[in-house]
């Protein structure tokens, strides 16, 4: 066996292949020490084989213990080894022993979608642990779990499909399955990559799949009849089909008191509208319709813009570029340097730019409002999309002012209304009529 394995894998140096002899009998034995938990190997194989060897007991253990799987086919061997199994051949029979080294043993703290009062645990990069998290939160008989296997995937990433059998829409499920089959990339490393591969149109302006790290959000969506895709090695899972509004809801909305959460939701929508349109509105007011806004505002802008040497849209583009660069830099930088960068960029540069009359003071406010409002959006993918989309508004406002902004808003709404997420409307209100029979989700009941 050892020779075959070595041949199949090209004799890598980090593979241990050993023929062990305890004085009574021999056993062939091989594994990747880097991928296996050495303690488990010791307790499970080495101790029974060497120190307390009893041939009957050992044979019984191999056949009955859940940790040992029969692996008689030589072509499976290399695959099992690569997944972190220990292969052993004893008395002509081959067994695989699961001693995969688990990096994670407890759930991660939430990092991207923080919540004040909700659960603080997030998914890990280990699929089994993630499944555990979901099963604990969504402890239902009707939870369907499908293992979606693809043979030609190099990373051998395991993909799991989860849904509530009673609540899921079968046509949507079929659609999701077929989309998943169409994915032909052989190396899937992150959830975001899978999202990209599963959304048909590459140039879509809005995400149709929600990526989350929160098990409670997953459970809530499962309860709504949504479908979940989990990927081994990713801290994030995919939820689909989703609607526009799901991207603007934080889990805290379900945990906070009614009026508080409503207030926050309204705040988020206003913030989204501001970050989308404010730069464009600035251009329209300055360059096209100064008479539209109130007189004090017009005079203040006029006064502060008096020394600015170039037209409004160049000013806007300069400031937007600066703020985007700043945001991008502070994400990539180490955390303690990041805050310095923010201070330098935000305070010093902004102040200096205004004093040097490169931009007007109103523009500084506009820029910071745009940046802050953008961070209010709870979903990071969605906030990226919004960040890009505001340039469309800026471009239109350069050519046609306020009317252009309103017309673009109209077109945006039409675009959203025409979108479907896996066959379901993306941007439509009150469409849950057909699912009226579904009970409200338990999270809601607890909160109420």
């Amino acid at each position: 066996m050892l020779k075959e394995v070595r041949d199949q894998l090209g004799n890598p140096d980090d593979l241990i292949t050993e023929t062990m002899d305890n004085g009574y009998t021999k056993m062939e034995f091989c594994f990747f020490p880097g991928m296996c938990d050495i303690n488990q190997v010791k307790d499970g194989i080495l101790v029974p084989f060497s120190y307390r060897f009893d041939p009957d007991e050992f044979r019984r253990m191999l056949h009955a213990d859940l940790g040992f799987i029969r692996a008689d086919k030589p072509e499976e061997w290399s695959g099992l080894l690569l997944k972190g199994f220990v292969l052993l051949q004893y008395e002509g029979e081959t067994f695989a022993f699961g001693a995969i080294r688990k990096m994670q043993t407890k759930p991660d703290p939430t990092q991207v979608e923080a919540s004040l009062q909700g659960p603080q645990s997030a998914y890990t990069e280990d699929l089994d642990l993630n499944l555990n998290l979901i099963r604990t939160l969504y402890n239902s008989k009707s939870l369907g779990v499908e293992w979606h296997e693809k043979n030609d995937i190099a990373s051998q990433s395991r993909i799991m499909l989860l849904y509530d059998r009673d609540k899921v829409d079968p046509t949507t499920l079929k659609e999701v399955r077929s989309r998943l089959d169409e994915v032909d990339k052989n190396l899937i490393l992150a959830a975001g990559q899978l999202v990209k591969l599963m959304s048909h149109k590459r140039h879509r302006m809005f995400p149709v799949i929600l990526v989350t790290e929160r098990p409670d959000r997953t459970a809530m969506h499962l309860n709504k009849g949504k479908i979940v895709i989990m990927l081994d090695g990713s801290r994030f899972v995919l939820l689909m089909p989703v609607r526009f509004f799901d991207f603007l809801s934080a889990m805290d909305d379900y945990y906070e008191p009614f009026w508080m959460s409503r207030f926050l939701i309204v705040l988020r929508y206003i913030a989204m509208l501001l970050t989308l349109t404010l730069p464009a509105l600035y251009i329209s007011v300055v360059s096209y319709n100064p008479e539209v806004f109130r007189v004090q505002l017009a005079f203040t802008i006029d006064g502060s813009r008096a020394a600015v040497p170039y037209p409004s849209f160049i000013e806007v583009l300069i400031m937007l570029f600066m703020i985007e660069a700043l945001i991008e830099a502070s994400i990539r930088l180490p955390r303690f340097v990041g805050s310095t960068a923010a201070t330098v960029g935000g305070l010093i540069l902004g102040q200096a730019a205004q004093q040097a009359a490169l931009v007007s003071s109103i523009m500084i406010i506009v820029t910071s409002v745009v940046a802050i409002s953008n961070f209010v959006i709870p979903n990071s993918t969605f906030s990226y999309f919004i960040r890009v989309l505001k340039y469309l508004f800026v471009a239109v406002s350069i050519f046609s002012g306020l009317i252009g902004v309103v017309v673009t808003l109209f077109m945006l709404i039409v675009y959203l209304c025409n979108m479907r997420s896996f066959g379901e409307p993306y941007f439509a209100l009150f469409i849950n009529e057909k699912k009226k029979k579904n009970k409200r989700n338990p999270a809601h009941q607890k909160a109420g």
Partner: protein, 364 residues
């Protein structure tokens, strides 16, 4: 893929030349904050247009507002404004101009209809612009520099329409209302009269016009009474002398309405209901005779109002809209209107004032 690219490119090519050319930044525009129209003696160029242009600065403080005043004479207002454009270095912007001053001389000789034509036609002139009479002329009002101005033009603008002060003797007249009164049967135009005094404006009189020219200018006391009865202005006072000293009531609520009694020979009854509290009075007057005081105060107000109404009637103008009300309650438009015109010169008025004093303030 390539096809969509080409599509976008075509669209961009289509849109790009369309836009861009009309981009005009705010700092390339001159904001007109008030405009004045006067009459000249030159028959060739009868109109003198004075514009007050804002010079904005980034600092907003009282007294720092600067303005540039430009004057030009021309054959019409529209032409005058075109000529003015060549005097200044930026595009004139009327969108924030909310003060229009008609010179008194113009209103007395020529009337306001030509100026009104221009105002109503311009798309960028607000319907809620304030219109006033400049005494003695419009230019003097525009040349005044009030010290309290935070940004150019705001002192004049805050005076009207309860925006800043709520003075009881300032009548607010909007452009759309003047236009309505210009054409309406049975309702005549009114205009506040502004006079400049050193570094401030004094707007406490009202001019009553027929369809074109000034017929009567009321003094400040009459203006207040007019404002209370015609526009239901609160924050006014009703005063009455008494043997111990003057009694002054501050009005907090006021409502007035018109009824007509009598068939063919109608009498106009103006009802006024005022509520308020005593702001100044000798001590313990109210306690002694609460109802009597209310009645006496009401009677006095009725008398002064009646006097005013007869004065207005004798000039043949109808700023209250009695005629309009008569038409509204009498059908058969044409005949009713003729009849009203014949009876208006000797119509009788009655004012019924119902005063309610709520209290005497903080002391008895």
């Amino acid at each position: 893929m390539r096809r969509t690219c080409v599509g976008w490119l075509l669209l961009a090519l289509l849109v790009l030349p369309l836009g861009g050319c009309q981009l005009k930044d705010i700092d390339k525009r001159f904001f007109v904050v008030s405009a004045g129209f006067d009459q000249t003696d030159d028959p060739e160029k009868p109109y003198r247009v004075t514009l007050r242009l804002a010079l904005t600065s980034s600092k907003v403080e009282a007294g720092t507002a600067h303005a540039q005043v430009e004057t030009v004479d021309a054959a019409s207002i529209a032409e005058a404004v075109r000529h003015l454009k060549s005097n200044v270095d930026k595009e004139l912007e009327f969108g924030h101009c909310r003060e229009f001053v008609f010179g008194r001389g113009m209103l007395e000789k020529q009337g306001f209809q030509d100026a009104m034509q221009w105002l109503a036609r311009r798309r960028d002139i607000q319907g809620v612009s304030n219109i006033m009479v400049g005494d003695p002329d419009a230019a003097s009002i525009l040349h005044t520099k009030p010290i309290s101005e935070r940004y150019p033009g705001n002192a004049l603008f805050l005076t009207f329409g309860n925006e800043g002060t709520e003075a009881s003797d300032t009548v607010t007249e909007y452009m759309f209302d003047l236009y309505r009164r210009e054409y309406e049967t049975g309702l005549d135009p009114i205009l506040p009269v502004a006079r400049s005094s050193q570094h401030a404006y004094q707007i406490n009189r009202v001019a009553l016009l027929d369809k074109n020219k000034i017929r009567l200018i009321l003094n400040p006391e009459e203006t207040q009474v007019f404002n209370m009865t015609a526009n239901d202005i609160r924050k006014a006072v009703m005063a009455m002398p008494s043997e111990k000293g003057r009694i002054v009531m501050a009005v907090t609520r006021l409502r007035s309405w018109i009824t007509m009694v009598g068939g063919t020979d109608p009498k106009v009854v103006l009802h006024v209901r005022a509520t308020g509290f005593l702001e100044q009075s000798p001590p313990r007057v109210l306690e002694a005779d609460w109802h009597g005081l209310e009645r006496r105060m009401g009677k006095r107000f009725s008398e002064s109002t009646e006097q005013l109404l007869y004065k207005i009637r004798d000039q043949g103008v109808d700023p209250y809209g009695f005629g309009l009300h008569y038409l509204a309650i009498h059908r058969g438009r044409q005949k009713a209107w003729e009849h009203w015109k014949s009876i208006y010169p000797d119509i009788r008025f009655e004012v019924r004032t119902d005063v309610k004093i709520q209290g005497t303030g903080m002391v008895r």
